[in-house]
Symmetry: C2
Subunit: 123 residues, 2 copies
């Protein structure tokens, strides 16, 4: 990261990567990271024991599956998943999203999954 204060363009940052399900850090605020992620297809069911999580959709339409229902979230819309709530993000077509998460948040939460990432890249 740079210590110089600069604006961050979501569109420009999204052009820097193409991999799915690999969030990139673009900013930090106190104990939170702002991340950008591209994804398509199904993630795994999981929950985060003590961290709330925000998904803001920049492009595409995400389906946030909860155990009882699912919620479609499109561009300019966001959804907060409170700690402890099982959820599964699904994208029939590619979605570009911004995440607000505590620095301690692991992408797969309590799930045992190959999708788990232990180190995130700054872009």
């Amino acid at each position: 990261m740079s210590t110089r204060i600069e604006k961050i363009s979501l569109a420009e940052k999204f052009r820097l990567f193409s991999a799915h399900w690999e969030p990139k850090i673009v900013a930090e605020l106190n104990d939170f990271y702002v991340k950008l992620v591209r994804f398509e297809g199904d993630f795994v069911w999981h929950s985060h024991e003590s961290e709330d999580e925000l998904f803001f959709v920049f492009e595409g339409e995400m389906l946030m599956k909860l155990r009882e229902r699912e919620i479609a979230v499109g561009p300019g819309e966001m959804i907060v998943i409170p700690r402890g709530v099982e959820h599964k993000p699904v994208a029939p077509r590619e979605v570009l999203a911004m995440l607000f998460e505590k620095k301690t948040t692991v992408n797969t939460g309590d799930a045992d999954s190959d999708l788990k990432l232990t180190e995130l890249e700054w872009i």
Copy 2:
């Protein structure tokens, strides 16, 4: 606020208020709030001693004045002001922005100003 998990549409929420410089809370994540704010004109110079602050522009163009320079931030762009850095948001025309701030953050920071808000409304 509702405890039911629902998506949040920025456009819909912005239609619920018109006042300037009065951020409304739309979500909370752990020790952070997500707020929406409309503003036009000049805010006051201020800094936050221990809180970083994120401005994401939804509509319009903001000028973020720093002591040495100013940075134009437009739709789909954001800027993080680290704790301790003096700043002054300015909007020649109305700007609609999303803020990501610690719950303890006071809008006017260390400044003595009539613009200070002690209580924020949820929408």
